[in-house]
């Protein structure tokens, strides 16, 4: 059957319309667009100046601005992510990895698990140095009447190694410089308050009633962090550092209404077909839960959030503070407001005022957080 002229006329009209739809949408906003998850740095609309046009910077900026703001752009981003996810198993963002059975990882944890991350020369010496500095720091703090607790947060890669895609395993696996194994060995040998939650969680892997690591999250689940918080209180109680024996739980809700960050990796996938996180468990403490007046200061990475924030350590330690990467602090009362110290003296005062100092980090941040803590001890004493 030969082509009739009208078919091609209609098709060309459709082509033009399709090309114009994004611009029409951005001008008229016909369809309500759903924003993407995750933070992005947005480019501002460039200002029209002669010299910027002449040297081409206006055109470059306008192209970038257009690329971020044309109509239905978010849907195209979702399409991009969906095609790559479905066809190739690639997750949005270079740091996310899709493991077997759709278990998501943050790439760093896999690198650290296999010891394939870059390490400087003399790394083992630096680990030894840090551990010795921790021992020295504990002695200094003890003289000031302060207690110290070091916590190694668990790593999802260590917890679910069977879910890591085969291609991530190096041809020659050499763990002699492995961060976790070296710190674990050295810290256990020292007379220092140390909790290894990596080891602890692995021992609970098949015994826990509810998932202690979420399928789609970077960190331990909120439920898992809650168990860890309970273990911390129990540990401190046995050591005679704090009066609380643990967290008293009134009820545990199992729900599909997932709380952040249990599904933080799936949120940032920004797919068309959003992946539903399996139901999660959330503990709720008894009303009027006993509290401790101890002043607790924690220097740590993002793993502490789930231990501290809701229905956990922040509730039972109303005088606690969290120094997130030692860059900004949050206190128990106004935990949503990040604060900066007014000056060095204020930071020193807050540090010296604490009765218990907790240093917590996962394997990937352990070096950095230990260094930050030790430098605080040196500066403040």
């Amino acid at each position: 059957m030969r082509i009739k002229g009208n078919i091609e006329r209609i098709l060309f009209g459709i082509i033009l319309l399709v090309l114009l739809i994004p611009v029409i949408q951005s001008l008229l906003g016909i369809v309500k667009e759903v924003p993407l998850n995750g933070k992005v740095h947005r480019i501002e609309e460039p200002s029209l100046k002669y010299e910027n046009i002449w040297n081409g910077t206006y055109q470059d900026s306008l192209s970038q601005y257009f690329n971020e703001n044309f109509g239905l752009r978010n849907e195209f981003i979702r399409l991009y992510n969906q095609v790559r996810f479905t066809a190739f198993g690639i997750m949005a963002g270079s740091e996310s990895v899709k493991g077997k059975d759709n278990y998501f990882f943050q790439r760093d944890y896999i690198d650290y698990y296999y010891s394939t991350e870059e390490k400087s020369e003399g790394y083992l010496d630096s680990v030894n140095r840090r551990v010795n500095e921790l021992v020295g720091a504990e002695m200094v703090l003890a003289k000031n009447g302060q207690s110290l607790l070091i916590i190694m947060a668990p790593s999802k890669a260590w917890f679910f190694p069977e879910k890591i895609p085969v291609m991530w395993k190096p041809i020659k696996l050499d763990r002699s410089l492995n961060t976790y194994l070296n710190y674990q060995k050295l810290l256990k040998d020292k007379d220092i308050n140390f909790i290894d939650f990596n080891d602890h969680f692995l021992s609970k892997k098949d015994k826990s009633e509810y998932p202690i690591f979420p399928q789609f999250g970077i960190h331990w689940s909120i439920y898992g962090a809650h168990l860890a918080a309970d273990s911390v209180l129990s540990f401190l109680n046995k050591k005679g550092i704090d009066s609380l024996q643990g967290l008293a739980v009134e009820r545990t809700d199992v729900t599909l209404d997932i709380q952040y960050p249990d599904h933080d990796l799936s949120l940032t996938t920004n797919l068309i077909d959003y992946m539903q996180e399996p139901a999660k468990a959330y503990n709720y403490l008894v009303k009027n839960h006993p509290t401790s007046s101890m002043k607790v200061l924690t220097i740590g990475d993002s793993f502490y959030w789930q231990m501290w924030r809701d229905e956990a350590l922040r509730t039972v330690w109303p005088k606690s503070e969290f120094w997130f990467y030692n860059n900004r602090y949050f206190n128990a009362e106004h935990w949503k407001d990040k604060k900066l110290w007014h000056n060095r003296n204020e930071k020193r005062e807050r540090f010296n005022d604490a009765e218990l100092i907790i240093v917590i980090a996962s394997e990937t941040n352990f070096d950095e957080i230990i260094d930050a803590f030790v430098s605080e001890v040196k500066l403040n004493n």
């Binding site: 030969r2 082509i3 098709l11 055109q59 752009r73 981003i77 066809a87 190739f88 190096p170």
Partner: protein
């Protein structure tokens, strides 16, 4: 402005189509000219004036040349050639020349020449060559010059092929500049061809290019397996990048009523380097043949020595055309050498080997050539070969889309070898004439367009290799 950008696809192009097709036929050249100049000035506001001025100057020289007596005709011919080659020499090769002079002077402990690097205008290699075809075709009497400067300006600046070809010779398009129609048939098929090119560039070339660039930047971590994958990836990146751009240019041209020449014909099924050059960047090969090789004597020379000299000269110049750097000269010499070997004995040897072995060997030779093309720094090229031939493997962690895209690229580059492969290629290039087929093809094109736009906006990696030419 690159074709594979959101602002081109979703702002410039639809606005251009609306304006162009609403314009009455006899004024469409003005719309196309205005749009083309806007397109060039957008990317190169400072050099746009140079383009306009040189094009106008050339137009008037050629006008004069056409009506001049023989002696003056020749003088004006050379004036035009010197103008065009001079522009190219200054903007493209001066930096390279001064750099080498200074290296030479430093070698003798002498002082160096002061020089501020000149910036290379986009597309200069293409539009100067097109300009030369205008001059030479008029001089040779192949075609009369254009009467209107605006038509000539349009010929040189026509945006579909201004930046990266195909090199459209004047005599092939002269009549279309004066009179042409753009049927809905051409518009739809042209669009479908455009999307094929866009998909080749965005889905294949860019994906492979991202891998190549990341590996080369971290060459200290590269192992032998990565190096061979880099070689394969670059081989397909450059093909799908450049042929994709040619498809886009041809498609857009067709939509406007122009019939541009084909620029690629499945070069990776070539059975010899000579065959390769009949399939790769065909418009450049033909330009070199007609305006350089044949004037040097071509094949019709007295001795093999002179023939080989002609071949190597053409390919050294061809290499240099691609870039002002010694690796491009070396690449040109590499291909020139194989062309000489073809004449001497290699083609017969390949024929005796048979279809598949000769294709595999030719593909390997071409790929190694691309490694020379890729590395400006020859010492880095040496390091790359050391890694390639160390056969030490330390890792096998690659982007998850690399192998599928490489396989797809390989299959797409050789599918014409299978039965009905040529027919299938014909479909890609618009050989379908039923309602059902044109509807299906257009739907497929629109789907791929959506995915291409998704890739363009979702990924920030969007370079174009031949832009610097």
């Amino acid at each position: 402005m690159v074709f594979s950008s959101a602002i081109f696809l979703l702002a410039f192009l639809p606005v251009f189509f609306v304006l162009y097709f609403l314009t009455p036929n006899k004024y469409r050249n003005y719309t196309a000219l205005f749009s083309s100049l806007f397109f060039y000035f957008w990317g190169e506001p400072r050099f746009g004036i140079l383009l306009v001025a040189s094009t106008l100057t050339n137009f008037f020289i050629v006008q004069r040349m056409h009506s001049a007596e023989a002696k003056q005709k020749k003088v004006l011919l050379w004036a035009s050639v010197i103008l065009n080659i001079g522009l190219l020499a200054y903007f493209k090769y001066c930096n390279f020349f001064i750099e080498n002079v200074n290296a030479f002077l430093q070698g003798f402990g002498l002082g160096t020449l002061d020089w501020v690097n000149v910036v290379l205008p986009i597309g200069i290699s293409f539009f100067t060559f097109q300009s030369l075809t205008y001059t030479i075709d008029v001089y040779r009497g192949v075609h009369d010059p254009l009467e209107k400067w605006s038509d000539h300006m349009l010929y040189i600046t026509l945006f579909p092929q201004l930046i990266a070809g195909p090199i459209v010779r004047f005599n092939t398009i002269a009549d279309q500049l004066i009179e042409r129609t753009s049927s809905y048939h051409d518009r739809v098929k042209g669009f479908n061809r455009f999307v094929i090119g866009l998909s080749k560039k965005v889905l294949i070339a860019n994906t492979l290019g991202e891998f190549v660039d990341a590996e080369v930047m971290a060459m200290d971590k590269m192992d032998s397996l990565s190096a061979w994958l880099v070689l394969a990836a670059y081989t397909f990146q450059i093909y799908f990048d450049f042929s994709g751009y040619s498809d886009m240019a041809i498609g857009l041209g067709r939509m406007m009523g122009f019939k541009f020449p084909e620029n690629f014909n499945n070069p990776y099924v070539a059975r010899s380097i000579s065959d390769f050059w009949r399939r790769w960047h065909i418009t450049l090969s033909e330009w070199m043949r007609d305006y350089l090789y044949i004037p040097l004597g071509g094949n019709r020379v007295q001795s093999n020595g002179r023939l080989y000299f002609n071949l190597i000269t053409v390919f050294l110049i061809s290499g240099l055309w691609h870039g002002a750097s010694w690796n491009f000269v070396l690449w040109g010499a590499y291909h020139g050498l194989f062309l000489i070997l073809d004449r001497a004995f290699l083609i017969q040897a390949m024929n005796r080997l048979g279809g598949i072995p000769s294709r595999i060997i030719t593909f390997f030779i071409v790929s190694i050539g691309w490694s020379i093309f890729r590395f400006d720094d020859l010492s880095q090229l040496g390091d790359f070969y050391d890694i390639m031939f160390s056969f030490e493997i330390t890792d096998y962690r690659f982007p998850l889309d690399l192998i599928p895209v490489l396989i797809a690229a390989r299959l797409l580059s050789i599918f014409t070898l299978v039965p009905k492969g040529d027919d299938l290629q014909g479909v890609f290039y618009g050989n379908y004439n039923t309602d059902k087929k044109v509807i299906m093809a257009t739907i497929a094109a629109l789907l791929f367009l959506a995915i291409d736009i998704a890739y363009i906006t979702g990924s920030s990696f969007n370079p174009f290799i031949y832009f610097r030419f």
